[in-house]
């Protein structure tokens, strides 16, 4: 037996104690699904750089650390204040998870209109098992990656948002995942489901934030269905703790004339990977897949995206911008696939990275795969350092150097932030970017971009 498969065995065994307590234990189909998942995970093993999709990211922490399942005690860890991303949560609906555990006492129902259902995964498994079975089954799939298989086997938490036909939710719904409040390495596997009916509209903001110093593995999967003519704005901020490993797989299906807008900001975690795959399944479907990454220390952030244009007349736009300091490293793999007969596709992709330090590294692979001729697709990728001329220009106008550097970084990231269509969220995410900048020179209000 090779060491690799031995590792996988011990990795899996450490989860055994938790398996009997997982939600939906009474559901036969779910039990089968979970068993399938663990078998496939064991067969596939942890992804390694030998796989093209993982060429630039090695899951070192997963090879070295023996993660334990979350216990009730971990889940009930004390939390004085909820670290909210959005200002003034007042009437805004909010869900809170701590160390992967649902914490209803922090939830705010907010003023959600009728026809909007926001619940924990555990509850939905009890109240609407058939409805969720249909979705978990179709979206899990045999071809899913090993980490998705692991999630399917171990999914223990997460939320379900269901918006009925024609219902529009005005306020952003915030979901907060607090991690790092444990003394030993833990792992949890949130499984989220967002389903928007015909013509529905909603904005979901996920805030993954690390408070303590503990090492943990958050292996999340979000499955998303955007119904005909619906609009989903799906934002995410990854500000995990220093020793965290954050894996998030998002799979979205977008129907006719529907729009899926996503933005992902990565500013924390030892190792993070956002893997987003979007299928544009109906004519007129559009997706905007954007993000920013700001890394320092020895952080590693991987954004891997695939957009499948399956039918004619679909469009996509993708803008990612990143700033890398110290010894940090980022990976951007963006693939746009235009399938046969998906004529009149319009696709655009841009990835730009600033390297602030000699030790930093960016690996980019913007990829086009095209099987139809009447399409307009383009991509661009660029890396460089801060523009010395611009820096000099600002300094010659009296701006101190440190501040000038911050301003240039902020303006660089700004191009991606502009893609966020929800104003409240854009401001909140801009604040996160500003806070990331070197502490000595927080920008004064008047310096902030509009």
């Amino acid at each position: 037996m090779t060491t690799e498969s031995t590792n996988i065995k011990t990795f899996v065994e450490s989860f055994d104690p938790a398996r009997s307590g997982l939600p939906g234990a009474g559901l036969g189909w779910l039990k089968a699904l979970r068993e399938d998942g663990i078998e496939r995970f064991e067969a596939l093993g942890l992804p390694t750089p030998k796989l093209e999709a993982w060429k630039y990211t090695r899951l070192k922490p997963l090879e070295d650390t023996r993660y334990q399942p979350v216990t009730d005690e971990d889940g009930m860890a004390a939390l004085d204040t909820v670290p909210s991303l959005l200002p003034d949560p007042g009437g805004r609906p909010r869900l809170v998870f701590v160390n992967g555990w649902m914490r209803p006492n922090f939830w705010i129902d907010g003023d959600l209109p009728d026809g909007v259902h926001l619940e924990g995964l555990r509850d939905v498994l009890e109240t609407r098992p058939d409805w969720i079975r249909e979705r978990l089954g179709t979206l899990a799939g045999e071809d899913a990656s090993s980490l998705v298989q692991l999630n399917t086997a171990m999914m223990d938490t997460g939320f379900v948002l269901r918006v009925e036909d024609g219902v529009r939710v005005e306020t952003p719904i915030e979901v907060i995942f607090v991690g790092g409040l444990t003394a030993r390495p833990v792992a949890y596997s949130p499984r989220n489901l967002i389903v928007l009916g015909k013509g529905a509209e909603a904005t979901v903001v996920k805030y993954h934030v690390g408070l303590g110093a503990g090492a943990y593995l958050a292996n999340s999967v979000s499955d998303i269905e955007v119904g005909p003519g619906a609009l989903l704005r799906h934002y995410k901020v990854q500000a995990e703790a220093k020793e965290a490993t954050h894996i998030h797989t998002i799979r979205a299906r977008v129907a006719r004339d529907a729009t899926y807008e996503s933005f992902s900001l990565s500013i924390g975690g030892r190792l993070s990977r956002n893997e987003v795959s979007v299928r544009l399944e109906g004519e007129g479907a559009h997706c905007a897949l954007n993000g920013a990454y700001l890394m320092r220390g020895s952080e590693h952030c991987d954004n891997t995206t695939v957009i499948d244009h399956l039918v004619p007349h679909t469009t996509c736009r993708e803008v990612f911008k990143g700033v890398l300091d110290d010894e940090s490293r980022a990976v951007f793999v963006g693939r746009i696939v235009v399938h046969k007969d998906a004529q009149k596709t319009d696709g655009y992709q841009l990835c730009k990275t600033l390297l602030l330090s000699t030790g930093a590294e960016i690996d980019a692979k913007p990829e086009l795969e095209i099987y139809a001729d009447d399409v307009k697709c383009s991509h661009g990728a660029a890396t460089g350092q801060l523009d010395e001329t611009a820096l000099f220009y600002l300094r010659s106008r009296g701006v101190p150097e440190a501040l000038a550097r911050n301003l240039l970084v902020q303006s660089f990231i700004g191009e991606a932030l502009e893609e966020i269509s929800d104003e409240v969220v854009r401001q909140a995410i801009t604040d996160q970017v500003v806070h990331w900048l070197p502490a000595a020179c927080y920008l004064a209000e008047e310096w902030r971009a509009e």
């Binding site: 046969k340 690996d363 980019a364 399409v375 660029a382």
Partner: protein
């Protein structure tokens, strides 16, 4: 402008003529037994009176090759290659003792080259291009040797170089593409039969274009030529390469290796027009063109520039690359790849920046028509020490018809903050508006397509030496024959 008129005529001619290099020359050949084993490797080496070290090197390569899996990462698909079902050595019999002058060459062979439009004959020498012609496994003629000799330029078959300047060959062979490099290059290391050798002494600007024409003639024969070009300090050379093959129903393997070495302040310009038989319109036959080409900018301020026009071959698998080791060295890759019918191409380049202030430029124009699939695959790597490195990449794809594919797979790895790397790619088609506009002005559809495609490729065509530019423009039109209804 003149050339585009030629394009138009060529397209017309081709309507009847199709692949005009598809003839086969019936001459007596000497072949090694079919199949591949250590004895064949020894046979080839013995045929060429090679020194012991080279035989050892070949055998090491052969043994290593046995352990290697077929490369699977590219987007090309074909039946497994039966390596035992091919001949690895085939030489025109009359050349057995080596032709001393053109008079000794089989007249039928000369006729073949005449058909190919290659100026081997005395009266055509006015064109000012020195030619080395490789027919199946051996080099049959090298022109202008004496004139080149006056300035110290060595331009001869590599088998001859092993006798006349073995130390030079030994010093550089396999230093850019080691025998362990990849399955196809390793096979070449084991069984290469001939190819060109060029050495430009320090400070010499090669007085004429050097050119090699490759021709696969015999059936079931693989061609494995190996080219080695060394540009010593402060020298310059421009080298042209052309390839054709007869039309045959079975696939034939062409696994060549080209190694370029540029020392301080030297410059090598390497241009290829690849027009191997592409197979018929149903994808039957055609050459498997699995080629490893790599240049090493070993010296400061050196420059290597690759220009390729890839229109032939059933499958092209080729990544002419530059290792930019010397400070301030420059690498360039200009490419036009055209695939039609069932042709497949997975081609691109690697620019490995190691030295300070190194720069590279990649311009790739891919045209896909019929049921063809084409991939641009490129790597730009900036190592931590490559301070001030600079890369610009532009990849454009043009699709003609709704059953072809065009793919762009660039890898960008940047480990130095002072580097500037820019990559742009676009995909488009020939729009109906463009076609109607040109036709309204009186230009027939096929010519209109050739005109738009030539415009699309202009940036690359401009890089070719004059002698090749005209031929390349013609090829662009011809290769797309029948792609518009």
């Amino acid at each position: 402008m003149v050339a585009s008129i030629d394009t138009v005529q060529q397209v017309k001619e081709l309507t009847e003529e199709k692949y005009k290099y598809g003839f086969f020359t019936d001459i007596e050949s000497e072949t090694a037994p079919k199949g591949l084993n250590e004895d064949i490797v020894r046979f080839i080496s013995a045929k060429k009176n090679e020194p012991e070290w080279l035989l050892e090197w070949r055998l090491k390569a052969y043994r290593y090759w046995l352990t290697m899996p077929e490369p699977k990462w590219s987007k090309v698909f074909h039946e497994p290659i039966d390596y035992q079902d091919a001949y690895y050595y085939s030489a025109p019999k009359s050349a057995a003792d080596g032709p001393q002058s053109l008079d000794e060459i089989d007249p039928q062979l000369l006729e073949t080259y005449e058909k190919l439009g290659i100026p081997l004959k005395e009266q055509e020498r006015l064109s000012g291009v020195a030619v080395d012609a490789v027919f199946d496994s051996v080099s049959v003629a090298t022109t202008f040797k004496a004139k080149l000799g006056e300035v110290g330029v060595i331009f001869c078959p590599i088998s001859e170089a092993l006798e006349s300047c073995p130390d030079l060959v030994k010093k550089y062979l396999g230093t850019v593409v080691p025998y362990t490099d990849n399955k196809h290059a390793t096979l070449n290391s084991a069984v290469f039969t001939d190819g060109s050798f060029v050495y430009i002494p320090p400070g010499v600007r090669c007085p004429m274009e050097l050119s090699t024409y490759f021709r696969i003639n015999a059936a079931n024969t693989g061609q494995f030529e190996r080219t080695l070009i060394i540009a010593d300090k402060g020298s310059y050379v421009s080298y042209l390469e052309g390839c054709t093959a007869p039309m045959r129903d079975e696939h034939q393997l062409h696994a060549a290796v080209v190694e370029l070495i540029a020392l301080d302040d030297a410059e090598i310009k390497y241009s290829t027009i690849q027009n191997w038989y592409p197979g018929d319109e149903n994808g039957r036959g055609g050459i498997f063109n699995f080629v490893t080409k790599r240049g090493h900018c070993r010296g400061r301020n050196s420059k290597i520039s690759w220009t390729q026009v890839e229109t032939g071959a059933a499958i092209t698998w080729k990544y002419p690359s530059c290792i930019l080791k010397g400070d301030n060295s420059v690498g360039e890759f200009y490419s036009i790849a055209i695939t039609n019918n069932y042709q497949q191409a997975d081609t691109g380049t690697k620019m490995i920046h190691l030295g300070k202030n190194t720069s590279s430029r990649i311009i790739s124009k891919g045209i896909s028509a019929g049921r063809a699939n084409q991939t641009y695959r490129g790597l730009v790597r900036i190592s931590p020490k490559a301070k001030g490195a600079r890369n610009f990449t532009q990849c454009d794809s043009l699709l003609i018809g709704d059953r072809c594919g065009a793919h762009t797979v660039p890898y960008i790895e940047c480990k130095n903050k002072s580097a500037i790397v820019e990559h742009e790619a676009t995909t488009s088609t020939i729009s109906e508006d463009q076609l109607f506009y040109l036709r309204q002005r009186g230009i027939p559809p096929e010519e209109a397509v050739a005109l738009v495609v030539n415009g699309f490729c202009r940036e690359v065509l401009q890089q070719l030496p004059m002698e090749f530019a005209v031929e390349a423009q013609k090829l662009v039109g011809i290769s797309l024959e029948g792609s518009v209804g």
